[in-house]
């Protein structure tokens, strides 16, 4: 596949980064953003203090859970765009499981986590069934269900689950501290969350690359028709892939509710689902790269919060940079391909 030397490959990666930098400056310029100061604020914002690092890690957890989860359907050549809605559904199921409890402990938390994974898996199963039995492309079913999940959240927050007295965008009644995930020292990230994210990464790695199940999933992705002929049951496996991704996404939702916000609010998924898709594309869906790119994107997200305060810029810039980076990667990949084809033709 890649016959270029290591040096050449490094060269191409640098070209991609350079292009990304150039494009970022290009698009930030009309907003009147001073380029280097902006980049400084962005990167400093993520690492300048321990509490900031804690926040970066807190963002890394759900992002990694979603991103490694996405590797499973991607092995079957599926685009689980519905991951955003699955995070939301996980958060909803998690909150629902804790509604009867004013206070609790590890048992209730475990219950809530289980409920969240179930919620995410079921929501993913719905998108999967639409795809497998209804032949509705997962882009549409996923997206549609994302919006529906958001609608359900809004309805719950302003309806049955509203805070006594006033219903507001700040969400449901906050959970009692006994139902929070325990923190890592003074940092705002939970060690439970970190452990879950690392465990998920190892789990997905073993599942995809060290089991026959993973081989069969790869076969289904390679050629679904041949998979039928080999009696691999491609439809069943596609649904399994959706469900596993949904469960991990639901888990991400649970960490958001239990570890970060301690309640359900409209923006509970914080775009982690879509960002995880970008991470996957940037890593070309190679598992070892995923956690690191997640770390990078998470620090960009935290840093961007400073932008409105310090520079009067919109915090969407982090999203812009993430998008530009992945786009640059694709452009550079394309140029490599184009050059190689030109060489072969001569």
């Amino acid at each position: 596949m890649n016959r270029d030397s290591l040096l050449a490959q490094i060269g191409w990666v640098c070209a991609a980064l350079g292009l990304a930098l150039f494009l970022t400056i290009l698009v930030a310029w009309p907003a009147g953003a001073p380029p280097f100061e902006t980049i400084y604020v962005l990167f400093k914002g993520g690492v300048s203090s321990m509490s900031k690092i804690g926040r970066v890690l807190a963002g890394w957890v759900p992002l990694t859970l979603c991103a490694v989860g996405l590797l499973v359907p991607f092995t079957a050549r599926l685009w689980n765009i519905g991951v955003e809605g699955q995070v939301i559904m996980g958060a909803i199921f998690c909150t629902a499981a804790l509604r009867p409890y004013d206070e609790g402990g590890a048992l209730q938390i475990a219950l809530a986590i289980g409920a969240a994974m179930l919620g995410g898996a079921l929501w993913a199963l719905l998108a999967g069934c639409l795809r497998v039995f209804g032949r509705v492309h997962e882009i549409f079913s996923g997206l549609g269900l994302n919006f529906v999940a958001l609608g359900v959240t809004l309805w719950l927050i302003f309806g049955p689950w509203k805070r006594p007295g006033v219903a507001s965008m700040s969400g449901t009644q906050p959970l009692d501290m006994s139902l929070w995930l325990p923190r890592l020292g003074k940092l705002s990230v939970s060690w439970v969350g970190l452990a879950l994210a690392i465990a998920a990464t190892i789990f997905v790695y073993i599942l995809l690359y060290r089991t026959k199940w993973g081989l069969k999933m790869r076969a289904v992705g390679e050629n679904p028709k041949a998979a039928t002929l080999f009696s691999l049951g491609p439809r069943r496996r596609l649904l399994q892939a959706f469900m596993i991704c949904g469960a991990l996404a639901g888990l991400a939702g649970a960490t958001q509710v239990l570890g970060v916000y301690h309640r359900l609010l409209p923006a509970i998924s914080s775009n982690y689902g879509y960002t995880a898709l970008l991470v996957g594309m940037m890593a070309s869906f190679r598992l070892p790269l995923v956690p690191f790119i997640c770390l990078f994107f998470a620090s960009l997200n935290v840093g961007s919060i400073q932008l409105p305060l310090q520079l009067g810029l919109d915090s969407s810039l982090s999203g812009v940079i993430q998008g530009v980076m992945v786009l640059s990667l694709f452009i550079v990949q394309g140029l490599r391909l184009w050059l190689r084809q030109r060489k072969e033709a001569d």
Binding site: K212, L215, E222, K225, A226, T228
Partner: protein, 492 residues
């Protein structure tokens, strides 16, 4: 006059065309023969401007050109007709005809089609989508289009696959007329020697990318075969195995079976097959033979009727159940439908034999290398294998105790040596008791390797022929829709 000078076409390390030079004169019919993979189609695509040669030049009408484009080729009067016509199935006849031609109104196009159809005794409805035409009609439309564009050099790539013998005769008569009366140059690319003998004023023989000889009449078949296949020509094809006696439990009994596919359905199928039989299916594209095979293995639905496999009755055709019961289906399109392109051989073996645990290296050795002569490293990916090796891999993945083997075109794209090996293997399976039902668009192949032939016409079984009736005349006529009585009458 057209001259090809030292044409090379390389795809990476593969030399599809290795320094070919030949001359084509107007008013003559040439045959370009060679087995699958010899490089004939590639060379013609260079001539038609559909591919650029790696090096070499073309001389057309005195002018030397390094390469052609489709537009340039049209200006020079060169047109190519593919085996699977390169047209637009969803678009109507008149638009298919007009695309690529100088601007004309719809009415003008309709008039031209009408006139050409009248001259050649054909009938085209201008607003019908091309997908509603048969392969033979689509070919004829393409030919008319090329003639309308002013083509004086016509290249036909394997034109007789998938058309009835009658349509073939009409086509050949037309080509004769074009060459003798209008002075066109005709090049017929084929792997069938009989056609070359029948039509050609001169035969070019290609083997493994090179032009090995040019022959003039009178033709010596032995010499031709030897030049085409080299030493591989001396292989022997085994004879059809003997059939078990008639009172043995039949392998397959179909009772009023109804199969439904995505495009059409086919019903009231009644047929019985014995263990060890080789049954060939014949018919034009879309006549029902594909649905027949796919229905029997469970890939297409069976909403009505049922069938027996040995003594077990099946009222529903679930693919997995039938596969466990010993029904195996092998599609024609190996890489698209039957193999996993980026997975390697070991992984294919692991997937095909899920009951075998542990290290499968020994099994691979015995099954693939020793059993099927598949000489490739187990780490090779399926898409890196040659066509012949892909077919060997596919066959090695079929369990030895398969009862009913259903194959769509067993030797598609294979060179003669590989094709022979495949047939010898299939016949040995039949000798051990498996029943084979296969289809091939190459009628000769069907006739040669079948105990009985089921002929399909218009989505139904026209007839089941055996013995002396297995002949080009009878089967060809049945494929075209004639009834058995008419054929018997004509013969007597």
């Amino acid at each position: 006059m057209i001259v090809l000078n030292d044409i090379h076409k390389h795809y990476g390390r593969v030399r599809a065309n290795d320094g070919i030079s030949l001359t084509l004169e107007p008013g003559r019919i040439y045959a370009l023969v060679g087995e699958n993979g010899a490089g004939k189609s590639t060379l013609m695509r260079v001539l038609a401007g559909h591919t650029r040669p790696t090096s070499g030049t073309l001389e057309i009408g005195g002018e030397t050109i390094s390469h052609l484009t489709p537009t340039l080729a049209r200006e020079k009067g060169v047109g190519m007709l593919y085996q699977d016509p390169l047209d637009f199935p969803a678009m109507p006849v008149w638009e298919n005809f007009q695309l690529g031609a100088p601007k004309r109104s719809k009415q003008e196009v309709v008039d031209v089609i009408g006139e050409l159809s009248y001259r050649l005794d054909a009938c085209f409805l201008p607003d019908e989508p091309v997908s509603s035409l048969t392969v033979g009609e689509r070919q004829l439309l393409e030919l008319l289009r090329l003639l309308d564009l002013g083509a004086t050099t016509l290249i036909l790539d394997e034109p007789t696959t998938g058309i009835t013998p009658e349509q073939k005769q009409d086509l050949f008569d037309l080509l004769m007329k074009l060459a003798r009366e209008e002075g066109h140059t005709i090049i017929l690319v084929t792997h069938k020697l009989s056609e070359a003998f029948e039509m050609a004023d001169s035969i070019f023989i290609m083997r493994q990318g090179a032009l090995v000889a040019t022959l003039e009449p009178p033709y010596d078949e032995k010499e031709l075969v030897h030049l085409m296949f080299g030493d591989a020509a001396d292989g022997e094809v085994e004879a059809l195995p003997e059939l078990p006696p008639k009172d043995v439990t039949p392998r397959l009994t179909m009772r009023d079976t109804l199969f439904a596919g995505p495009k059409y359905s086919m019903g009231d199928l009644n047929f019985t097959a014995r263990p060890g039989e080789c049954i060939g299916l014949a018919g034009l594209d879309g006549s029902g033979q594909e649905l027949f095979l796919r229905g029997l293995c469970g890939l297409d639905r069976m909403p009505g009727g049922g069938f027996d496999l040995d003594s077990a009755t099946y009222r529903s055709n679930d693919f997995a159940t039938l596969r466990k019961a010993g029904v195996q289906f092998v599609p024609a399109d190996r890489l698209q439908m039957a193999l996993f392109p980026a997975l390697n051989l070991m992984e294919h073996i692991t997937l095909a034999f899920p009951d075998k645990k542990g290290d499968l290296t020994d099994f691979y050795q015995s099954q693939c290398v020793d059993g099927f002569n598949l000489r490739a490293h187990p780490d090779t990916q399926a898409n890196e294998l040659s066509g012949g090796n892909q077919q060997r891999l596919l066959l090695s993945l079929i369990p030895n105790d398969t009862k009913l083997l259903l194959m769509e075109h067993p030797t598609r794209g294979l060179d003669a040596g590989s094709a022979r090996q495949v047939w010898n293997h299939l016949k040995s399976r039949c000798a051990k008791g498996s029943t084979l039902i296969f289809f091939s668009p190459d009628l000769d192949e069907v006739l040669e390797h079948s105990h009985r032939v089921i002929v399909f016409y218009d989505r139904a079984i026209a007839a089941v022929v055996e013995g002396d009736d297995i002949s080009m005349e009878v089967v060809g006529a049945l494929m075209a829709g004639k009834s058995m009585e008419d054929i018997k009458e004509n013969n007597s």
